[in-house]
């Protein structure tokens, strides 16, 4: 059984989001996603400063098994990327909710948060997968 963190919001495409008090969202992929991918060997990250739209492909994770797109769950500007993943992509397997975060965005439309799932809804979504 994969781990789902209570306080996060989740996208159908298995990204998680954590929003701080300044409206900056940290984005990563869920434990369920990393487990399904298997050993991750390459990560591509979005450009710093890029403007991204919700549901847009902005990053790539490549595992021994397959390449998979990562979608931005929210619209906004990319303010930070986790460059440590470029040299240590296995961090995503080891710590999907913590050191394995992908990027941060200053969100432009808070209403989009309502379209994301809470932990319970995401758990159901994973069961249906």
């Amino acid at each position: 059984m994969s781990k789902i963190i209570e306080d996060l919001r989740y996208a159908e495409s298995h990204e998680w989001v954590s929003v701080d008090d300044n409206g900056v969202a940290t984005v990563g992929i869920s434990d369920h996603a990393q487990e399904a991918l298997g050993d991750i060997v390459f990560v591509e990250l979005p450009e710093l400063g890029a403007t991204v739209n919700a549901k847009e492909e902005v990053a790539v994770v490549e595992s021994v098994k397959a390449a998979s797109d990562v979608y931005s769950p929210l619209s906004g500007e990319v303010t930070e990327i986790n460059e440590a993943l470029l040299d240590a992509p296995e961090t995503v397997n080891a710590s999907p909710y913590d050191n394995g975060w992908f990027f941060k965005i200053a969100i432009s439309d808070e209403a989009e948060l309502d379209e994301l799932m809470d932990a319970d809804a995401y758990a159901d979504h994973c069961d249906d997968d």
């Binding site: 298997g38 050993d39 060997v41 390459f42 591509e44 790539v60 490549e62 021994v64 098994k65 397959a66 390449a67 296995e90 397997n93």
Partner: protein, 362 residues
Amino acid sequence: MGKRTPLYQQHLNAGAKIVDFAGWDMPINYGSQIEEHNQVRHAAGVFDVSHMTVVDVSGTEAQQYLRHLLANDVARLKEPGQALYSAMLRTDGGVIDDLIVYRMSFGYRIVVNCATRDKDLAWMNSQTDGFEVAVTERPDLAILAVHGPSSIETAAALLDQTKGEAVAGLKNFRGAELGDWFVARTGYTGEKGVEFIVPAEDAAELWEQLLAAEVKPVGLGARDTLRLEAGMNLYGQDMDESTSPVVSNMAQTIAFEPADRDFIGRAAVTDDLAAQAQGNLPELVGLVLQGRGVLRAGQTVSTDRGEGQITSGSYSPTLKHSIALARIPMGSTTCQVDMRGSATEVRIVQPNFVRFGKKVFE
């Protein structure tokens, strides 16, 4: 629920992620495929390959039968225990399967692929006419492959003195019949190691002993990256009934001498060899991608001589970049592959990437 090997419970105990493999519930990994891969390159791992099909061939004309059935020549096996890799061909040269054949005290033992079991047995049985031969499947046997630099020492130390000495003393590509066990120094990883073909009821105890001796369980995921690094073909992916062994680097496993041996597919592969020498047939090469990204089976590649296709591709945990096998026009010198929309240069190398833990191509 799929078919299960005698070690299914052991896999669950070891935390295996189970997947369907040609109708069998098999462990794809026990956590991390890359760690399992590295374990085999640096120490020792054990694979349950009991899903593979063991077929015993006996009878006074077993040798004549196999000299007709197989592209390699079992007459090269001079004494019990010797092993040979061979293709089994259709009349038109298409590869029905690849296999290992061992000379045994009773005749021959053949290990064929799991996914091809039904058609292999049907084909083998259809070719027995005129030979005094018995073809007997052995579903009562389990196969444990123990591979890695410390595998033979570790395995030998677990066995009783007679078996242990026999295993420790095995030469490469040789096996020994030890009561109802057969142990051979063959494998599919590019490391040294032994394969134990044992009665199903002995499998769990051997498995537990190996694990207690720090031999780690290794799933089918790592088995695939290990064989790819070793440049070994996978049936159904790098070759099949639509491809000649000549375009799969298997020409050297076809015994054309003696010239009067009439094996199935001989005329076709003789023609194919001539056609390839003229540059009219493609070849199977190795590809190396130094940058980021992973080459995948099915991708089209473009060379200076035309188009080709990747037949197996993955990430090499040993080399830390992607490698692949690809069938491309003969004599190509440059090769490009489309990586997510951008044409990326890849190097063409000998299809052999890693042996005994070390990079082997230039």
